[in-house]
C-alpha cells in the first residue's frame, strides 16, 4: 500500500511526531511505500537543524533524518507554516532578507499543494495530530 503521512503537531510538545515516525518506520519495514511525509502547523518544527534535545532522550529530528536516508523519504515542511514560525532554507532566507537559514538536512520546504498531491497519490493519508 502507498501511504501519505501528515504530522500536525510539534516535536516533544505532542507525541504526534514520535507516533508518526514509529508508524512510518513500521510501514516501511513491512515493505509498503511512503509517498511523502508532510509537516504542517507546528509539525514543521521537526525540520529544524538547531534542536539540541537532552542526551538521555530521543532526538526526534535526527530519527526522521536517519529514516529518510535509509528509505529515501520525501520529508516536506509547509512553506506557509514555516514562514510563520521561523523555519527557512537558504533560498527563503535570501528572499526574505533574513540573516540565517535553519532547515535540517533531508527536509525540504514546499507548498501545501504537496499535501494535496500526497492525498491524491497515496492510497491512504494518515494524519498524526491533536
Amino acid at each position: 500500500m502507498k501511504y501519505g503521512i501528515m504530522v500536525s503537531e510539534g516535536p516533544y510538545t505532542h507525541e504526534a511526531a514520535d507516533t508518526a515516525y514509529n508508524f512510518t518506520k513500521a510501514v516501511l519495514e513491512k515493505g509498503h511505500e511512503v509517498f511523502r511525509v508532510f509537516f504542517y502547523h507546528d509539525g514543521m518544527n521537526v525540520g529544524t537543524r538547531l534542536s539540541v534535545p537532552p542526551q538521555d532522550d530521543r532526538n526526534i529530528t535526527a530519527k526522521w533524518i536517519e529514516l529518510a536516508e535509509q528509505y529515501d523519504l520525501d520529508l516536506v515542511v509547509c512553506v506557509a507554516a514555516a514562514q510563520r514560525r521561523g523555519l527557512l532554507d537558504d533560498d527563503e532566507a535570501k528572499r526574505h532578507g533574513k540573516d540565517a537559514s535553519n532547515i535540517a538536512p533531508k527536509f525540504r520546504i514546499s507548498g501545501l499543494g504537496q499535501l494535496i498531491e500526497a492525498g491524491i497519490q497515496s492510497e491512504r493519508l494518515v494524519v498524526f495530530g491533536d
Binding site: 501528515m6 501545501l112 494535496i116 492525498g119 493519508l125 494524519v127
Partner: protein
C-alpha cells in the same frame, strides 16, 4: 517551483477530500491553516467537503470582530469558498445545539447533519484531513 496546476495530477483522478474542522478560530491556528489547505487544494479540482463539528462551528459564526485582539478576521473567506467550487459544507447538529447556535447564526449555507449521516459521509471519502 511548479504551480499546482502545472504539476502532474494522477491522470485526472478525482478523489473525495473531507476537511474536518473541530476547533474554534483565533484561539488556535488550526481553523486558519485548515482554510489555507482548502484554498490551495481548490486548484486540484477534487471533490471537496468541509465539516464543522465541536468548536469548529464557531469558525463560521456571523459577525466576528477581531479588532480588540489584533488578529485578522478571516471569516469572510468562508463566503468565498463557493467561488472555489467548494460548496459542500456540513455542520454537526449536536455541536450547534450544545453551543446554543442555529443555522441562522452561521455566515454560510450549510447542511446540518446528525452523527449517523456524518459517519456515512466519512465512509464515502478517499482522504480525510482533520484539523
Amino acid at each position: 517551483m511548479a504551480e499546482p496546476w502545472e504539476e502532474d495530477e494522477a491522470a485526472g483522478e478525482i478523489k473525495k477530500f473531507m476537511y474536518m474542522n473541530r476547533k474554534a478560530p483565533y484561539g488556535t491556528i488550526y481553523a486558519l491553516e485548515s482554510l489555507e489547505v482548502v484554498l490551495i487544494g481548490a486548484a486540484f479540482d477534487q471533490d471537496v467537503s468541509l465539516v464543522f463539528a465541536d468548536d469548529g462551528v464557531y469558525e463560521i459564526v456571523k459577525n466576528q470582530s477581531t479588532d480588540e485582539i489584533g488578529m485578522k478576521n478571516f471569516s469572510p473567506t468562508y463566503r468565498a469558498l463557493e467561488a472555489y467550487d467548494v460548496e459542500k459544507l456540513y455542520v454537526l447538529d449536536t455541536s450547534l445545539e450544545e453551543r446554543g447556535l442555529t443555522e441562522d447564526d452561521l455566515l454560510v449555507d450549510v447542511e446540518v447533519v446528525d452523527a449517523e449521516r456524518l459517519g456515512e459521509l466519512m465512509e464515502e471519502q478517499d482522504v480525510i484531513l482533520s484539523f
